[in-house]
Each structure stands twice: as C-alpha cells, then as structure tokens.
C-alpha cells in the first residue's frame, strides 16, 4: 500500500472508531504496528488528524444542553475577507463550529451552551456587537437525530440467522 493510501485507510477506520488498538489497525491493513505508528505520528504532526473524538448523547447522561445554529450576515473586511471575523468568532469556547456558507448569509455559527439565556447572551453581547456583523438569525436545535454520521436512535438488531449457507 502506498503511504497516502495507507493514511487514507487509517483515518477512515479511526473516524469510525478512534479507540481501536494500533495492532488491530495494523492487522486490518496488512502492515506492521510500527508502520501504523509512523503514519499516526505524521498524520497528527501535519494536523490531518486534529483530534480523536467522541460523539456523545448528553441527554442520556441527564445533561440538558442547548444547541443553536446562527446565520450571520457580514460585510467582508478589505484585505481579510471573512478570515479575521471568523477568527474572532471561533475563539469563543462556546462556539462549536464556524463555516463560510454560500447563499443568503455568510457564516454559520454553531453554538453549544448550557442554557437558553447563554445563547441570548452570546448573540446580543458577543456576536452582534462585532463591527462587521450586519445581522443574525438564530435557530435552536429541538432534537438531534444524527451527528457526525452517527444516528442517535439505538441500532437495529442483526436480523440474520446464526448459520446460513
């Protein structure tokens, strides 16, 4: 396997299960554990792998979290485009995601906080006052069905017979 191909295989598997053991990963790819370690190191150094993540259903832990998606219209700044403003927004720890969007607004800001008031505070005190922000529209997430490719409902059972030809 070529190094690029190996790296792609590694991240594909890790995206599904970031806790897989290096030896098992190596066996799945038909290479040595050292070869996987080497690629893992490089993938992290190059920041291709940014973090080994976990998708959590907080509701089941009894924790109420509030998720909001905020459409933001802005006037781009000369010489910086959207970058300078995006930076100022993504540094807030409660901001979960920031995307530049095509279409009727410019930035999509994802927020994860503990309460409704916290959303209000963020929008009125932090986001709207920023110079180039023209307008904001806030959408609240009412229920999560799927996130990062993971379905929140319990998986369906394996329907297959135990033995078949």
């Amino acid at each position: 396997m070529k190094p690029e191909q190996l790296q792609e295989e590694i991240v594909t598997i890790l995206q599904e299960n970031s806790r897989i053991e290096v030896q098992q990963l190596a066996d799945m790819l038909g290479v040595t554990a050292q070869a996987v370690e080497k690629q893992l190191k490089e993938l992290q150094e190059k920041r291709i792998i940014l973090r080994f993540g976990t998708v959590v259903n907080w509701q089941k832990l009894g924790r109420q979290k509030v998720y909001a998606l905020i459409d933001v219209k802005i006037t781009p700044q000369r010489g910086h485009g959207f970058d300078a403003l995006a930076k100022r927004i993504y540094r807030f720890p409660e901001v979960h995601s920031v995307y530049v969007m095509s279409g009727t607004y410019d930035l999509s800001v994802g927020l994860e906080v503990d309460s409704l008031e916290a959303v209000g505070r963020f929008v009125t005190e932090k986001l709207s006052p920023l110079d180039s922000v023209v307008s904001t529209t806030t959408h609240f997430v009412l229920k999560k069905y799927k996130e990062d490719g993971v379905i929140f409902d319990d998986p369906e059972n394996d329907q297959r017979l135990v033995i078949s030809p």
């Binding site: 598997i13 799945m28 297959r160 017979l161 135990v162 033995i163 078949s164 030809p165």
Partner: protein, 400 residues
C-alpha cells in the same frame, strides 16, 4: 398411509443438510458470536430501500414480463458489459430470477437428461449437489487442493470427465474457500472444457467481492466461452440484498429460452418491488458496494493474520467473505472442532465437510461481521485452539 413412501425417491434420497444440523445446534446458544453466516452484515443501502418504497408508493404491485422489467434487463446488460466485458442482449439473453438460487436450478433443469454427469469442484456451495440430483443428474466432485489455494486444477478436471459428463458448475470467488481464478488460472481449464465440449454454469454471485487489486475475471469473457456458458449472478452479496430474493442469469438464446420456459411456469416473474430495488442498486449503488468491499478487505486481513498467528494453515482468500483455515493442527475433525468451539467458547463456525468431503479438516469462518465482534471471536478461537493443542499429547498418549 405411510407418507414417507409417497415421497419421490429422488427427494427422499437427498441427505439432510449438514448446515441444517449445525444450525439447530447453534440455536441452542443464542448469545454465541456467529462467524457462520453466509450473508453480508450490512443492511441494504438506504437509497436502494428508498427506491423500492417509492415503487410501492407509485402502485407498482403487478406482475412484470417473465424475463423481468426492460429497465432492469437493460441495466444488467450494461453492467455485464462495463464490468466484465461480456455482451448480452437485454431483450433476449438475460432473465431475472428469484436470486442466484433459482438460476442454478433453472440452469440444471434446462440442460440435464437423466444420468448425465455434472462436475462440481469441491469444497463448494451446498446447493449444487442436491440441485443436480433433483434435476436427474449425477454430481461428480472434483477436489480442489488446499495446497493450491483451492484453485481448480486442469489435471484433476480431465481425470473426472467421462462420456456422460455434460457440464461443470463453477463458483469463483468461491464459497466456502474464498478462492478466485485469475485469467492465467482459467486458461488450462478452458482448454479441457473446450476439448470435451462441456457446458459451463458459472455462479459469479461473489464477483464484486475481490480484494487486493485483483479483479474478478469471468470465464464467459474468454473467446468462444460465452456460447457455452450460463452466467449466474445476483444482488445478494454485492449490494447486501439477500432478503430481496433477486438475481439473474445470462446465456445464449437457446439456453436462455429453455430456462425461460421453466421460469414462466414455475415462477412467472421475480418480485416487482425487488426489481425496482435491484435497478437502483445497479445504477447508483456501486459506491456503497465499493465501500463494503473495502470494509470486508480490512476484516479479511485481520482474520487471516489471526489464524496464521494461531499456527493454523490458512490460505489467503482473495474473494467472497470467507476464510477456510485447516484445523488439523488441533487434532480435531471439523465437526468436533465446530461443536466444541460452540459449546466451550460460544463461537459458531461451519464445519468444512458440509461443503463436501474434501472440506474435512477445515472450518468456514465468515468475516461478514463487525470488527468488534470479529476481534472478540478470534480471541476466543485462539484460546480454544491453544487449549486443544495443549491436550493433544495427552490424547495421543491415551490412544497408544
């Protein structure tokens, strides 16, 4: 009235399925991890399921023409051409069936007269022998040697041929061994087939499931082979559609017409809902198919390495989703191995001899199971093998 006596001798004489017996046994251990399953663990891709729901919403609930819907026949024709470079006319050389299973039965019943022999390279899929017998033919096994990776050898084939030999049933990629045949592997076989003017029934249901950059090579794509080949394929394995019961057969017009004759009276047509799903799978499903193959390939490497690390002989299977390791190093025969493994470690595998006597001393493990369960099952098998091997000197001493 003794109803047993009323049953036709042909049916009566077919022995009970070895798989069936093991199935009943495995059912007594409902929590066992099963590597005994001959079907994908994936569910049919959603867009395919969606297409069938859509067809129901549109009221597509009727019979279709005997051959199948023109759209599906056309899609199959395009697929066979594009994927394997074999040209079949959609309107005259293809028939949609209830899975490859119906196609196997149609093919045999169409060509066999009582007493004619059909060569079955073994170990092989469990349906061939009984289907040949039901069609009045005589199955003649040809052992494929384990030390040649279970590939069919021309010398062995030649030796099994008699004046009564009518046809050969080929299944590559193979269930249960995972063996494939490359272009080079086929060449000497084809010479024997042509020399003895045999018909070929080629069950290519696992054609999409090949690994390590090795593409499936259909025997029908060789010059002058299409005219003597009945090509069987389906959607069960490539698109994870086993429950839809849909497949197809492609053959030259006279052979296809024979099969069509049986099909129109015994099946009428394949399910229209499944045909809608199959059309979607063929036209838009290749990406999902490739992604499933990539996942099988990772599991395959993991499983082969695990068996080799246990010290069992396990050839590297290049197709389907089975490994077929030898368990002779444990001193157990395949039935005992599978039974004890189930009882002691709650892992279900299929004893190799259910695929023919030449499968004895092997087990079939399917890796159509999630990596997590596969990993757990392999640990248990390793523990089991170690235990049996440590008991081996003891048993030998007792026998002396």
């Amino acid at each position: 009235m003794n109803l047993e006596d009323k049953i036709s001798p042909i049916v009566r004489n077919i022995p009970p399925s070895g798989i069936r017996r093991f199935f009943d046994l495995a059912n007594s251990k409902p929590n066992a991890i099963s590597l005994g399953v001959g079907e994908p663990d994936f569910v049919t891709p959603w867009h395919v399921r969606e297409a069938s729901i859509d067809s129901l919403e549109k009221g597509m609930t009727s019979y279709t023409s005997n051959r199948g819907t023109p759209e599906l026949l056309e899609a199959i024709s395009v697929y066979l051409e594009k994927r394997f470079s074999i040209t079949y006319q959609a309107e005259s050389e293809i028939l949609v069936t209830f899975g490859a299973s119906e196609a196997i039965d149609l093919a045999l019943r169409t060509i066999l007269s009582p007493g004619e022999e059909v060569l079955t390279p073994e170990p092989c899929y469990v349906s061939y022998t009984p289907c040949i017998q039901l069609a009045g033919g005589v199955p003649v096994p040809v052992t494929t040697p384990a030390n040649r990776g279970f590939k069919l050898q021309a010398e062995d084939l030649e030796k099994a041929i008699t004046p009564k030999t009518k046809a050969i049933i080929l299944c590559y990629p193979n269930n249960p061994t995972g063996a494939i045949m490359t272009k080079r592997d086929w060449e000497p076989i084809i010479q024997v087939i042509k020399k003895h003017d045999l018909l070929v029934i080629s069950d290519e249901i696992y054609a999409e499931l090949t690994y390590g950059g090795r593409d499936h090579y259909s025997i029908a794509s060789f010059p002058e082979m299409k005219e003597r080949t009945i090509l069987i394929n389906g959607f069960s394995k490539a698109f994870a559609m086993t429950g839809w019961r849909i497949g197809y057969v492609a053959a030259p017009v006279p052979l296809l017409n024979g099969m069509l004759k049986i099909h129109q009276y015994t099946a009428l047509c394949a399910s229209i809902t499944s045909q809608a799903a199959a059309l979607e799978a063929l036209t838009n499903g290749m990406n999902e198919c490739r992604s499933m193959v990539a996942q099988y390939d990772r599991r395959r490497r993991l499983v082969v390495k695990a068996f080799q690390d246990m010290g069992l002989t396990c050839h590297d299977p290049h197709g389907a989703f089975y490994v077929f390791p030898s368990i002779q190093a444990t001193g157990l025969d395949s039935q005992t191995f599978a039974e004890q493994l189930l009882m002691e470690e709650e892992v279900a595998v299929v004893p190799g001899d259910v695929f023919g006597p030449s499968g004895a001393g092997h087990i079939r493990c399917s890796y159509a199971t999630s990596i997590e369960r596969l990993g757990e099952a392999l640990q248990r098998i390793e523990r089991f093998v170690k235990r049996k091997q440590s008991q081996l000197p003891l048993i030998k001493a007792q026998n002396q």
